[in-house]
Every structure is written in C-alpha cells, then in structure tokens.
C-alpha cells in the first residue's frame, strides 16, 4: 500500500490544519468561560468537526472516534441542550490535550497514544450520559467558577496523560480496530470486468489495508488460464469503518464471490502486524505495556508505517518539522516581492550600460547605482523583518497555563495580555518563552494570594496577572506583573544570611535584595510544590535572558505586587549601539546597557582609600571605570570632569564608565571576534563601520566583571 509523496504532502497539511484547529479550540474554550457565546461554541465545534473528518479520511480511527464524542458534547452545547458548565469546559480542554497528543504521535508515525483518550473517554461518556441542565442555567462567570470549584471531575480524572490505567472505559461506540475480510472471488471475476485492485484501492480509502494474496490455487504457468481468477485474498482493514461501508465496496462482486467479514479487535492482532513496522516497535511495546488491555495502541503502527516506504526515519520527522520553518505574514512576503521587482528593474537599467556606454550617461549611471543601493538596503531590512515574529506566539500559551494552574492552586486569577503584536527576532522569541513561563508560574504560585488572603488584605478576590510587551528605544520590554503579595524583603534577606550568601553585617539596597532570588538554589517557599519552590529556575531565567543580551529587573512593593521587567534586544544579529571614543579608539556599547550619560563635576566625585573613585549619581555612589586604564589607551584627558561618564547597568550593578566623547547612535551588525581570533575579556564582538574599519563592541557585563576583579585584587579583599 505505498502512498506516494503527494499523499505525504496532503497529510502534512492535514496535521498543520488540525494543530491550528486545536489551538483555536483551546483559546475559544478558554474565552468561552467568560460567557457562553453561541458563535464561539460554533467555532469550537467546527474545529472539532474538521479534525474528526480529516482524521477519518486519513485513517486515524482512534482520533476520529475520540473527537466524535467531543463533538457530540459540543453539539449539545451548540444546540442549547446542554449548558456550558465549568466541568464540561475542563473536560473539553483536557480532550484538546489528548487529541493533540494523539495527533503528535500520528504525525511522528508512531502508534497513537491512547492512554489519555482511554482515561478521558469515560469521563466524556459520563458527562454525555448526564441529563444536563439546559444552557440557560449555565453560570455566566464560568471561568471564575472553574477556578474556584474543582468539581468532581478533577479528582476523578487527574491529569489525563498520567492516569495510565486509571479508567480505561470503553466508549459507547465500541472500540473495534477494523475488519478481517476473506475475499474468495469467483473464477470469472476478470471476465465480469472487475479489477480486484480497484476494490482494494477503494478499501484503502476507508482505512489502512493489509493485503495478503493466497496463491495456492494458481497452477503452473504452462497450465495457467490468464482469464481465470484463481487468487484469493485476506484483507485486513484498519479503521473503525461501518460494516455497510465495507460491504458497499464489494457490491459488484459479492453475488459470485465468497466474502466473509470478521471484526478485528486489538487483542486478536497477530504479532506480525507490529513486526511490519520496526521503527515503531519500541514505542509500540511501551504503549502496550502501559495502556490498559481494551485498546492498546500497537496495531495502529501498521497503518502509517506501511504507507510510508519513502520515509525511512519517521521518528525524526517530528522534531524536524517543528523548528525548521517560519510563519511569515503575507504582507511581508508581498513587500519582498515588490522589492525584488524593483531590483529587477534597476538591474535592467544597469545592464544597458554594460552593452553600450556613452560618456554622457554617467549621470544616469549614478542614479541607477543610487537606486540599486536603496533597493539593497530595503531588501535587507525586509529580509530581517521576516525573522521578526509577534510575541503573541509566545503569549498564546499563557491563558491555558494560567487557567490550569489557578484551578490547581485554588486561586482566582484574571490574565491580561497586552502588546501581543510587538515583534521580535525568532531566535529571541524561542529562547524567551521558557523563562516567561517560569516567571508566570512563579507569579501565580508565590505572588498571588489565595482568595481569602486577598479579601483579608482588602483587595479584590480575583488577582490580576499582566503580561505586557512593548518597544522602548531599540529594545523590547516584556513585563510580568502581578498584584499579589510582593516580595518579602526581610524573608529573602534572612534566608540569604542563613545560607551564608550575604554577610550578616552587609546592608543591601532593595534591588540587591530582590536580585538574590536569581541565585541558584535560592528559594523562600515553605513548601516545595510541583509548580515551583525548588529554587531551580530563577537563576536559569536570568542566565537565559543574559545570554540573549538582555536583563531582568524586579520591582516590588509589599502587599501590592511585583513586576518582572525583561529588557531584550530586538535581534541578536543587530545591536542598537552607542558609538563612543576613548583617545583614538572607537568602541560601540549596547544601548540596552546605558542608563544615561552625564558630565561630572568635582562635587559629585569622591575617592575611597585613594584607589576606588566614586561618582555620586542621584542617591547612589557608582564606581568609576576608566576605560582607558582598563584597555591601556592614551585618552584625551585623565581628568574625569573633562570626559563623560556613561552610567552602565549590568547584572543589576551600576557603574560609571569614563570616555572622551559620545559619537553617533547606530545599529551595528555584530561580527564574531572568535572566528579568526579569540575571545577577549570585555569585548562582545566587533562590527564594521561605514568606512570599512573595524570597531569593537564592548561587553558591558564582562567589562564590569573584569573591572571589579581588578579592583578586588588591587585592594586585596573581596568586594
């Protein structure tokens, strides 16, 4: 049953559309909680319906069967027979997870994971069996209620993915795997213009088909009568297809042939079916051992792997399919096409000069070249634009996460998203998602209080969690903001002292105290939950963000909540830079790290122990880094008041860096120093100026570290 490449393509589209549909279902289900909107239910229903249809077409019987029961429930909601209850919503959300998981295994050409489906289908059946109150009785504030009232279902189901053999209930539709068909045609089959191949093709449309030909009756070639059909076949049709539909295929031949149908059950599958799919066997056996008897996933393996001789490594398909592609808005592609069109025109203009050049054409040539330069620049910008994705891609997962978590923690949370359309580089987007999830979980677990506590504190019962993204200068700012309890400074500090992270007599600023939570292994949580509290994570969060060239800041007020503010560069390849000069040397500092630049006066300068120079900036005393000393350059002047002090921030520490002059602010392309040279302390890379010379890019955090190390070795005690 070889399915050609075209089929593979169609399958791919099916999976893409289905995952999209599942996302739609999920987000709609979450908004549905806020009030039962008829149109919304329709949307969900349609998505479920097309998944069911598609899965049936492509012979993913389990998926279509499971989706069918989901669809039934949705249909009842749609028709107003059943109200939108939080319980039903919760089950539906879990069903979305289950379908997604089944889809993923199907996509990876693995046996379909039935554990979740088995566990949940019982729950679905139970809900369907209930004579539920009609829609009118549904609570309008269902989301809040969902968070508040765990309901009986939560205990019963648990997490559907973990509940291995928990409740393997048969669905009412009956879980048969397909049909075993013995087809012994009459000898005159060919003469009646029937082609068994066509019949088999028809059958294959209903589900994956294994065909075994029985050649016992076929005589020696010398005795063979070609018009006689002496073959018979044993057919295995995998897929929950109704008998009538199978019988229909044989309509034309059944009068003269002997056809027996036997429903196939999972248990009766011979081992050879799985053996036919070696790539899937290991997964199949694990599935079979963990899954409960009624519907082990193993036989499923035969269908997808049979149909894909062209894909020798099906297991690898999944990971490859996920990361390699980029979803680009059509307008961006259109803009690119326009630009390429212009480029072609410019090229033809220039091409003319190559054929015949008259001296008076020089002006025209110049103009064409200028146009070429413009086209190139615009093209470059547009191509860079393609890598930019709205942060909504990352934000989208949070409604669900917050919904599930708040339910689990028994907290009432309202999630507010804003700035979803803010765009940032794909690489940055991918790497920021996990830290964001971590921050959101933290805010939910530690930040927001239980409803009673909130009421006691004179706040509204429902906590607010805000996710906010916006551009600021050349950066993107992402804020995770809650109106919870805020960070407990005293507890953090005492914990830190307890663990010897801070010396007992050291006084720390608020910000330094908050930054303690980024230390590895630091946790003030009294209990370790599976949500957070192990002290793993915040250090990873900060490291990830720093790796991206960004940094994270904490603002917190006791009793009013906290804000985590992440500042990131827009892209990794291009840096918004401030060009500065020390003596004859030109450096570029990332604008992200520059707080401000000031001219100092004598009054603001002081010197500690004759060595450490300090600059009084507002209420802080900042150590002064003399870049010329650090890099061994001859500056214009060694007098601090002659130069400029650039206030830099790195790793939560501020320093003032002495430079001679500030030059332009410009975007620079970051080039690696390491490729041909090596890493240099204090430098993040190099870039090329318009005139072709190289300028070095300062690595501000590294610079601060280098400086502090030198200070401490000079002064002879740890800073």
């Amino acid at each position: 049953m070889s399915v050609d490449l075209e089929m593979e393509e169609i399958l791919k589209v099916f999976f893409e559309e289905s995952f999209e549909g599942l996302d739609t279902m999920e987000s709609s289900l979450l908004t549905l909680g806020d009030g039962s909107d008829r149109e919304m239910i329709n949307t969900i229903f349609r998505a479920a319906h097309s998944i069911k249809g598609g899965a049936g077409t492509f012979d993913f019987g389990e998926i279509s069967e499971f989706t069918h029961s989901v669809e039934t429930l949705l249909d009842e909601m749609r028709n107003g027979v059943r109200g939108v209850t939080p319980e039903a919503l919760h089950v539906l959300l879990q069903a979305v997870d289950v379908i997604r998981e089944m889809m993923q295994s199907a996509q990876a050409k693995q046996p379909i994971v039935m554990i979740g489906a088995n566990a949940l289908s019982g729950e679905l059946a139970r809900i369907l069996a209930q004579k539920a109150p009609p829609a009118g009785a549904a609570q309008p504030t269902a989301a809040a209620a969902a968070a508040h009232r765990p309901g009986p279902s939560a205990q019963n189901i648990g997490r559907p993915l973990i509940g291995a053999g928990a409740a393997p209930v048969r669905t009412p539709t009956g879980p048969f795997e397909g049909w075993l068909i013995e087809f012994v045609p009459d000898e005159s089959l060919f003469q009646t213009c029937n082609d068994p191949l066509r019949i088999f093709d028809e059958l294959a449309n209903l589900g994956a088909l294994d065909v075994t030909a029985n050649t016992d009756r076929v005589p020696q070639l010398s005795d063979l009568e070609p018009t006689q059909c002496l073959l018979s076949w044993t057919l295995r049709l995998h897929g929950a297809v109704e008998h009538a539909r199978v019988a229909e295929v044989f309509d034309w031949v059944d009068a003269n042939s002997s056809i027996t149908y036997e429903p196939l059950h999972a248990n009766s599958q011979p081992a050879s079916t799985t053996a036919a799919a070696p790539a899937a066997t290991s997964a199949a056996t694990t599935a079979a051992t963990t899954a409960a008897p009624p519907r082990p996933a193993a036989p499923r393996a035969a269908a997808p792997s049979d149909s894909s001789p062209a894909a020798p490594a099906p297991a690898a398909a999944k990971s490859g399919a996920e990361s390699g592609s980029l979803r680009v808005a059509t307008e961006k592609v259109d803009a690119l096409i326009n630009l390429v069109g212009e480029l072609v025109i410019t090229q033809s203009m220039l091409g003319r000069f190559g054929e015949r050049y008259e001296p008076q054409d020089i002006e025209l040539l110049r103009r064409s070249l200028a146009q070429l330069a413009r086209n190139t620049r615009e093209l470059q910008e547009s191509v860079m634009q393609i890598r930019m994705l709205p942060i909504g891609f990352s934000f989208n997962r949070f409604p669900r996460l917050v919904h599930d978590l708040s339910r689990k923690l028994g907290k009432k949370v309202e999630l507010k998203l804003s700035g979803e359309n803010t765009e940032l580089d794909k690489t940055v987007l991918e790497k920021i998602s996990d830290p964001l999830v971590h921050l959101v979980r933290n805010a939910l677990d530690h930040g927001l209080e239980m409803p009673e506590q909130r009421l006691a504190a004179g706040k509204g019962e429902i906590g607010t969690l805000e996710l906010n993204a916006y551009h600021e200068g050349g950066n993107i700012i992402i804020e995770v903001k809650d109106d919870g309890a805020g960070l407990n400074k005293d507890r953090i500090l005492s914990k830190a002292r307890e663990r010897g992270l801070v010396d007992p007599d050291v006084q720390l600023s608020d910000e330094s105290i908050y930054n303690l939570i980024f230390l590895a292994g630091f946790s003030t949580a009294e209990t370790v939950s599976d949500v957070s509290g192990r002290g793993v994570g915040m250090d990873v969060v900060r490291r990830n963000i720093n790796d991206l060239g960004g940094h994270v800041q904490i603002f917190s007020a006791r009793g009013q909540g906290s804000t985590m503010r992440i500042r990131l560069p827009l892209t990794l390849a291009i840096l918004e830079g401030q060009v500065l000069r020390v003596g004859k040397e030109i450096y570029v500092a990332s604008l992200v790290s520059i707080i401000e630049t000031v001219q100092s006066t004598r009054e603001t300068l002081s010197c500690v122990a004759g060595r450490t120079e300090l600059f009084k900036h507002r209420d802080d005393y900042l150590p002064i880094i003399r870049l010329h000393d650090l890099f061994g350059i001859e500056p214009d002047s060694r007098d601090i008041t002659d130069g400029l002090l650039v206030v830099l921030e790195a790793d939560g520490r501020r320093v003032a860096m002495l430079v001679d002059e500030l030059l332009a602010q410009q975007q620079v392309v970051i080039k690696s120093l390491e490729t041909n040279f090596k890493q240099v302390p204090g430098l993040a890379g190099a870039t090329i100026h318009g005139d072709g010379t190289v300028a070095l890019i300062l690595d501000v955090p590294g610079l601060v570290r280098t400086f502090l190390e030198r200070q401490s070795t000079q002064i002879g005690r740890a800073a």
Partner: protein, 177 residues
Amino acid sequence: MSNQQLAEKDSPRTPPTGIASADVGAQQYLSFFLGGQEYAIDILRVQEIKGWDTVTRVPYSPDYILGVINLRGSIVPVIDLRVRFSLPNAAYDAATVIIVVHVAGARAERIVGVVVDAVSDVYSISGDSIQPAPDVVGSVTDMFVMGLASLESKLVIVLDIERVVTTSVLGDSKAAA
C-alpha cells in the same frame, strides 16, 4: 613489466616519468623579507596578499598582535612578524603588506593576516633540499623554523606558518596585567 606498461596506458593522465621525478616532494613557497632576511612559507597556506590597512587595536593583546582588520566582512587579526621575531624598526611604508594566511583552527579554518616588510618571490623547493635549522638559531624564531633552504647562493628560512600563527593568536597573550 608488461603489466606496468598496461597500467600506464590505462591511465593517460600519468605524467611522463621524467617530470614526475623532478617534482617529487617539491612544493611552492612564497618568500618575503623581514628585516633584510628572506623567509618562505608554504604557498598553499596563503589566501591573498593585501596592502596595508587601518588596523583596530584590540585590548589585552600582546604587542605583535596589531589588532583586527575587516577582510570583506570578516574580522581578521593581524600579526606583525617583525615584532613577533623581535626585529628592530618595523616601519609601515608603501611596500608593507599583509599576507593573509589560513590555518587550521579549533572549529573551522582560521584566517589571519601577517605583516611583513615586502613580498619577494615564489620558489619551488623540494623537501630534501630543506636542511634542518642548526640549534644555534635560538630565541623566539627557533620554534617556528622548519628548516633552511639554499637557493642560488642565498639562504631562505622556511617558516612553519601554522605554528607561528596559532601560537601568536592563542598563545602567550597576557591578560589584564
């Protein structure tokens, strides 16, 4: 005997034996001047020769690393061999050139510029005509010298450019002192 003849007929690209034997072990070397002395390096290591260019100084680098240049978009370090070999008065004039060489790096090939007084010639030197350097040469240069070659009554020092470049770029550079 007849087998060999057959083999030669079967492979028409085999060059006539006379020329082949003359070329055995002979390699081409690019020679250049450093403080009046002629040095040679394996020409296969040479990517290009370019004129003197503005070099951007890199902090924490030894004095013989002049800095980095922009070579068509890549950042390439430049070593002044005259400073590396402690030769006096390394002047930069019209003849000063940068020989761009490529050597094996940690991950990929490393491209490095080498400043010399002037490029001289290309020689074909057979392997057996390179004599090992006598121990007396001493000092920094010692470890970089592959051997000495006498060509038309003059002495050319053959350098192990790979070693020169790798140790210079990675080696004894002093960090913040």
